[in-house]
C-alpha cells in the first residue's frame, strides 16, 4: 500500500488553538498524548471499554482511542485539565478528593469528564442515573461507591448555589458538531 501521508489538523484543546500533522490511523488519544503533551488523557484498553481516554468532543464524552485524529479536525476538545483552567480544583474534583473517590487516579480524568458532562445535561441526576452514565468508566481501586457519593455531593452543592456547576471547562459549540449528532 502506498504511504497514506500526513495531514494537518487543527482543533481547540481546552479552549486553546492547536494543530498537528497526523496520519489517518493516528487516534485522537495518541495525538493528544504524544504530539500535544496531554498526558492526563490515558490509554487503557484501546477498545472503547475502559473510559480512561474519555475527552469531550464538542461537549460530549467520546473515547479518544476510537476517534481518528483526522475526524476531530475543526472540533473543540476538552480534557480534564480544562475543568481546572487556572490550576484551582474544580468543585467536582474537590468532591472527589474529599470523598476518597480517587486512589491510584488512573481512571479519574475519565470519571470527572463523564460526570461533568452528565451534570451539564442533568444538574440533579438520581444516583441510578449517575451509575448508568459512569458504567463505561472502569476503576480498579475505589469500588465505585465513593465516586457516586462525590458526584452526588457536587450536584447537591451546585443546587444550593455553592458548587458552580457550570464553572470551568471552556467547552466550545456544545453538542453542535458533526461529531455528536444531538440534533434530533
Amino acid at each position: 500500500m502506498s504511504d497514506p501521508g500526513r495531514q494537518r489538523v487543527t482543533f481547540t484543546v481546552n479552549g486553546e488553538d492547536r494543530d498537528a500533522w497526523v496520519f489517518p490511523h493516528d487516534s485522537l488519544l495518541d495525538v493528544l498524548r504524544d504530539a500535544l503533551g496531554h498526558h492526563e488523557v490515558r490509554y487503557g484498553c484501546g477498545e472503547g471499554v475502559c473510559g480512561t481516554c474519555t475527552v469531550l468532543l464538542d461537549g460530549e464524552p467520546v473515547s479518544g482511542c476510537l476517534l481518528l485524529a483526522v475526524q476531530a479536525d475543526g472540533c473543540s476538545i476538552v480534557t480534564v485539565r480544562g475543568l481546572a483552567p487556572g490550576g484551582d480544583l474544580h468543585p467536582l474534583q474537590a468532591c472527589f478528593l474529599r470523598n476518597g473517590a480517587a486512589q491510584c487516579g488512573f481512571c479519574t480524568p475519565g470519571m470527572l469528564l463523564t460526570a461533568w458532562a452528565l451534570l451539564q445535561r442533568d444538574p440533579r441526576p438520581s444516583r441510578e442515573r449517575i451509575r448508568r452514565e459512569l458504567v463505561g468508566n472502569l476503576c480498579r481501586c475505589t469500588g465505585y461507591s465513593k465516586i457516586l457519593d462525590a458526584v452526588e455531593e457536587h450536584a447537591a452543592q451546585a443546587a444550593e448555589g455553592s458548587g458552580e456547576p457550570r464553572r470551568g471547562a471552556p467547552v466550545g459549540r456544545e453538542g453542535s458538531g458533526e461529531g455528536t449528532g444531538g440534533d434530533a
Binding site: 471499554v49 467520546v62 441510578e128
Partner: protein, 303 residues
C-alpha cells in the same frame, strides 16, 4: 494495539460514499461512529485499506411521518435514546438504544452502523426486526428499500453489496392499542446482551390480541424473528399469563443457541423463554395506555 495504516477520504453525501466505495474496491469501508469498526481495526481483526468517512453527511432530524419515523443513518444512539419523538412514538427503540454500550458508544455510534454491522447481540437490529423496520439502501443504481429482516444474514453479514450504504431507517410507530417491551439480560450493565427480547402486541377494544411480533437477540447468528406460526395461538385470544408462558416456551424450544464464554446454549434458551414470557406480559400490560404513560422510564433502567 493501534490500527494498521490506511488511507482516508471524507465525503459529504451518501452518493459520494457509494462512488468512493466503488472506485476504491473491496478494501474500502465506510466509517460512521467507528464504535465497532475502530476496535476491530485496533485489534487488527479488520485491516481496510481505505476508510470513507461519512460523518460530514450529518444526521439531520428524526422525522415523524405519522405511521413511521424516519431516522437518518447517522442518527446517534444517544439521539434515539433521548429524542422526545422517539420516546413518545416508538418507545421500544429509545429503550433499546439506552442499552447500547456505554455513554461514549452512544454518543458516537449510529443506527446505520449498527444495522450494517449486524452483530447478533446488538439491540437495534433486534428491535428493527420485531418492528418490521425498513432500511433504505443506496447503491450505484439508486436506492432500494429492504426489510430489516431481509438485510440481516449472519454474524457481521448483511445483504449489502460492498458498494452500498445504509441511508435511512423507517420504523413503524406505536398504534393506539399497541404495547411494547424490550428486555435483556447481560453480565454487567452496558455489556452486550446474553439474550434480549423485543415484543410488540396490539389488542382490540375487548382486550384480545390482534397482532404480535417478537424478535430475540443473542441466540442465533442474527436477530431471530419468531415465526408467525409460533405466535398464532395469541391471535384472537385473551392474553392470560399461562398462554403467554406457553407461547414463549414453544418459541424458545425452536432455538439451538450456541455455547460461548458468556453462557451455555441451554441457559440462553431458558432465558429466551423467561424473558419472552415477561416481555409479552409487559407489552400486553402497556397496550392501550396513553403515549405519555408508555414512554420509557429512560436510561436503560430495567422496567
Amino acid at each position: 494495539m493501534v490500527a494498521a495504516p490506511f488511507r482516508y477520504e471524507r465525503v459529504s453525501s451518501f452518493e459520494e460514499a457509494v462512488r468512493a466505495l466503488h472506485e476504491r474496491g473491496e478494501d474500502a469501508k465506510v466509517i460512521a461512529g467507528g464504535q465497532s469498526l475502530v476496535p476491530m481495526m485496533n485489534l487488527r481483526i479488520a485491516r481496510p485499506e481505505w476508510l470513507i468517512d461519512v460523518n460530514p453527511v450529518g444526521a439531520g432530524p428524526i422525522e415523524d411521518h405519522g405511521g413511521y419515523l424516519r431516522l437518518p443513518a447517522l442518527t446517534r444512539h444517544r439521539a434515539i435514546e433521548e429524542a422526545e419523538v422517539v420516546r413518545r412514538r416508538c418507545p421500544i427503540l429509545a429503550e433499546a438504544a439506552a442499552h447500547v454500550g456505554n455513554v461514549r458508544t452512544r454518543t458516537r455510534g449510529t443506527v446505520g452502523g449498527s444495522l450494517a454491522h449486524a452483530d447478533p447481540a446488538a439491540e437495534l437490529p433486534c428491535v428493527a426486526v420485531a418492528l418490521g423496520a425498513e432500511v433504505t439502501v443506496l447503491g450505484r443504481d439508486g436506492a432500494r428499500a429492504v426489510a430489516a429482516d431481509d438485510l440481516l444474514v449472519s454474524y457481521l453479514t448483511t445483504t449489502l453489496a460492498p458498494d452500498e450504504v445504509v441511508v435511512e431507517v423507517r420504523v413503524p410507530t406505536l398504534g393506539p392499542r399497541g404495547g411494547w417491551s424490550f428486555l435483556e439480560m447481560s453480565r454487567r450493565s452496558s455489556d452486550w446482551m446474553v439474550v434480549g427480547v423485543a415484543a410488540l402486541v396490539e389488542l382490540d377494544a375487548a382486550g384480545a390480541v390482534t397482532a404480535a411480533s417478537v424478535a430475540v437477540g443473542g441466540v442465533a447468528e442474527r436477530a431471530w424473528l419468531v415465526p408467525a406460526e409460533a405466535l398464532a395461538d395469541l391471535l384472537g385470544a385473551a392474553p392470560e399469563e399461562a398462554l403467554l408462558a406457553r407461547v414463549a416456551e414453544r418459541a424458545a424450544a425452536m432455538l439451538r443457541p450456541e455455547d460461548d464464554v458468556q453462557a451455555s446454549g441451554e441457559y440462553r434458551r431458558r432465558l429466551a423463554a423467561v424473558l419472552g414470557r415477561r416481555a409479552l406480559a409487559q407489552a400486553v400490560a402497556r397496550a392501550g395506555l396513553s403515549e405519555a404513560e408508555l414512554a420509557p422510564r429512560g436510561n436503560g433502567e430495567q422496567t
